[in-house]
């Protein structure tokens, strides 16, 4: 028998991450609520460019994912890891660096995103200096976690820890893969991949941000905190083993279901669809394992708000992991994609699964951290019902809105014309649903505010137990026995666990992504597709800065309802100079890929100045600052140089002539605007001209020559 060793658990770091979870949760939800209200009353940005919907939306998603859920992950990991391994964290200093580093990154995001500093890759919007900071802090977390695992007193690694390991390794791979970019200056970079390749890499990342940031670490928390709260072991440990390996292997493949019916090659779309459907099996295995853990304890669920939160969380996990695969079936995706249905779906996941589990964990932790009773069980119960109702009032109207709008997009008259030819009709129809959604968000936020009050009062009533004394036998050196099987072997070896997990997640990534990159030369080139002019590059960067991608896609799918509305469907060869790709994932406004030359310059000028002047009833905000702000040409040559380095065929030395070319094209557009009745001093220097240049170029490279067509 090994001698008993005494040591202590670090509770202070758990408390700190818990406080950050609660505060950033409120911030993220509040920003989301403001964004939701802006879709009803677009003037709610108060003509300030820093809080338009396009800039708030990435702030909201980043805050919800990386600030709220991210800190929630670390709260649970730092608490459970120490106890499961019977040791204190590897280094208190690394714990502190991790905590403060992560909070600084969040603050950096909260400053840069409203300033329009964004890569436009969804959920990876932060620019390169912050990307590097994320990588460094993530490595600190990794060293601290693996250091703790290596100095453990418990031989075996509980299944929750496998999920933590898989999370760490996959997020590392994804973060590097999707942020391969070349800096132009401190706050601007250009991605290495273009067009279709960029899209595939982005959604390989994007979906796996859901999988390995919002799901696997939270499954780890479920496998730890649900048994703790129910005071009984997990229903089936065998099932948890199969759940883990099947889930991490399959999840990594699912990304292309975000790109169905786009220009992505069909084989990649099919792989994404098939693996998404297969995901139902391990996901539901995990959900059932969670719910069945409560066998014999259901009477407690009626009384204990913590268990209520956890039951709803696991149920929401089951619902969203059934819905996700169904949405990956091409015929269903044809209806749901680009609509609010997707937004409803992801909020079942974040509000239902992540949010409710986080609340349950915080309610469970706080009395233990402060060695006291929860201030008010009845307030926790009130929060539970507000949270549950909030999710329902949020998601159900969006399902309705998504379905309604999609049906309106696709409806034809008996004569073969679009029944709702004006896109705006399909938007105004769903404004009431947006109102109910905002009500749902308000209810949910109200519940979270009550939780913060309850936790604050709990903390006030007790004293933080910064260090919890504990004792455990020193770790025995394990001697293998005849008949040991491989999984017991791997359960004792974290490094091998890391390697096997890495192999499991890399297989999917390599099979899907590598062929797309290796056959780069085989993406059909279209001779008429030319690189962007310097003015168009600047206009495109304004489009990125303003977050136009939040509401406008640039991907006409090969449906008659779309080619009738927008024009020729989009071809992969049209995007070979698009760094980053800007296909988008939501159409709150119409697709813009064929908007080029559709309207006169003056239409765009007036529309950006006051959208309602051109489209009465529009919910697009006004962008008057584009009329006044001057085009920044300081970095135009650097942008051209980086694009040329990435094989965009500009002539040698073109960067030196880029600004002159930009000015010449701007003057032409400004003159045309004047001809169309727009009077403004120094018009050719204004950002609106660059944006018009870009918009008028969109999708025009392959427009049929009208002369040829008439012949």
């Amino acid at each position: 028998m090994s001698k008993i060793e005494t040591f202590s658990y670090d509770n202070k770091i758990v408390r700190n991450f818990g406080v950050a979870t609660a505060i950033w949760g409120l911030v993220g939800m509040l920003v989301g609520l403001i964004a939701a209200l802006q879709l009803i009353w677009p003037e709610m940005n108060f003509t300030t460019q820093y809080i338009t919907f396009g800039r708030l939306r990435p702030l909201h998603t980043n805050a919800a994912i990386f600030a709220f859920v991210g800190n929630g992950i670390f709260t649970g990991v730092y608490y459970s890891l120490q106890r499961l391994l019977k040791t204190r964290m590897f280094s208190d200093l690394l714990s502190k660096v991790h905590f403060w580093g992560w909070q600084l990154i969040i603050v950096a995001a909260a400053i840069t995103l409203p300033l329009g500093i964004t890569s436009s890759h969804e959920y990876a919007e932060l620019e390169w200096p912050i990307d590097i900071a994320i990588a460094l802090v993530w490595v600190v977390f990794g060293i601290n976690m693996f250091g703790t695992i290596l100095k453990r007193r418990e031989n075996h690694l509980y299944v929750a820890i496998w999920f933590y390991i898989a999370t760490w390794v996959t997020v590392t791979v994804l973060h590097i893969g999707n942020n391969l970019e070349i800096p132009v200056h401190m706050w601007k970079s250009i991605p290495v991949f273009a067009g279709v390749q960029d899209a595939l890499v982005q959604w390989w990342y994007g979906h796996n941000a859901v999988a390995f940031f919002l799901t696997t670490p939270y499954l780890g928390l479920m496998y730890y905190f649900l048994p703790k709260a129910a005071n009984r072991p997990v229903y089936s440990y065998k099932l948890s083993i199969v759940h883990f390996w099947a889930l991490i292997f399959i999840y990594i493949w699912a990304g292309p279901h975000h790109l169905l019916y786009t220009s992505l090659p069909d084989w990649a779309q099919s792989l994404g669809s098939v693996f998404s459907l297969m995901l139902i099996a391990p996901s539901w295995g995990g959900m059932l394992n969670g719910l069945l853990t409560l066998r014999g304890a259901w009477d407690r669920v009626r009384r204990d708000p913590i268990l209520k939160f956890m039951v709803v969380a696991v149920t929401a996990y089951g619902m969203s992991t059934l819905e996700g695969p169904l949405l990956s079936i091409k015929s269903i995706n044809a209806i749901s994609h680009f609509t609010d249905w997707t937004v409803g779906h992801v909020h079942i996941g974040t509000l239902g699964w992540n949010g409710m589990l986080t609340f349950g964990v915080l309610y469970w932790l706080w009395p233990r951290l402060y060695n006291t009773k929860l201030h008010s069980v009845s307030l926790a119960n009130t929060h539970f019902w507000l949270g549950t109702l909030g999710v329902m009032f949020y998601a159900i109207p969006l399902y309705w809105a998504g379905w309604t709008q999609s049906m309106m997009w696709k409806k034809f008259t008996p004569d073969g014309f679009l029944a709702f030819g004006n896109f705006l009709e399909t938007v105004t129809q769903i404004i009431p649903m947006y109102m109910i959604r905002a009500l749902g968000g308000t209810i949910y936020l109200l519940g979270a505010i009550i939780m913060v009050y309850n936790l604050w009062k709990t903390a006030k009533a007790g004293t933080l137990v910064e260090n919890v004394e504990a004792s455990a036998p020193a770790r025995e050196t394990y001697k293998s026995h005849t008949g040991d099987h491989w999984h017991r072997w791997i359960e004792r070896r974290p490094v091998q666990m890391l390697i096997f997990s890495t192999i499991a997640i890399l297989i999917g990534g390599m099979v899907e992504v590598f062929p797309m990159l290796l056959i780069d030369e085989n993406v059909p080139k279209i001779a008429s597709v030319q690189p962007y002019t310097p003015l168009e590059i600047e206009g495109r960067d304004i489009y990125i800065r303003e977050g136009c991608i939040s509401c406008h896609s640039q991907m006409v799918r090969p449906f008659r309802s779309e080619t009738e509305r927008y024009g020729e469907y989009s071809k992969s060869g049209e995007f070979i100079y698009d760094r980053p790709f800007l296909w988008g994932s939501k159409r709150t406004g119409p697709d813009l890929h064929r908007v080029g030359e559709k309207y006169p310059h003056s239409w765009h000028y007036n529309h950006m100045y006051d959208p309602e002047s051109m489209s009465p009833g529009s919910i697009m905000p006004a962008y008057p600052w584009l009329i006044n702000q001057e085009i920044n040409t300081a970095y135009t040559p650097a942008k051209v140089n980086v694009l040329k380095m990435l094989n965009t065929p500009y002539d040698d030395g073109y960067a030196e002539r880029a600004v002159a070319d930009l000015e010449a094209q701007a003057k032409t557009i400004a003159d045309e605007l004047r001809d169309q009745g727009i009077e403004q001093e120094n018009l050719e220097q204004k950002e609106i001209v660059a944006l018009i240049a870009y918009l008028q170029r969109l999708g025009t490279d392959i427009k049929p020559d009208p002369v040829t067509e008439n012949r």
Binding site: S80, R83, L84, K86, E154, H156, Y158, V159, Y223, Y224, P227, K228, N231, R232, P233, V234, Y237, K238, L239, I241, V242, F244, W245, A246, F249, I250, S263, P265, D266, W267, L271, M278, D304, P367, R368, N371, T372, K373, L374, V377, V465, V468, A470, H485, W486, H487, R488, E491, A504, I507, V511, P515, L518, I519, E521, N522, V523, P524, K571, S572
Partner: protein, 59 residues
Amino acid sequence: MYKHILESAGNINWMAIFALGTFFFIFSVSAIMAFKSDKGKLNHMSNLPLQEDDPIVNS
């Protein structure tokens, strides 16, 4: 278009079959081994979260 890519990239059907085969292998092996494993050890593993004894004042 995708046909063109498939032809240009050579025979890539093996990738889908390889992927499916690998998944089948991982799923089968993990399932078989999980269900063959020692009950005592599984019991120990599944009780790990319940072993430590933080003060529980609440409910």
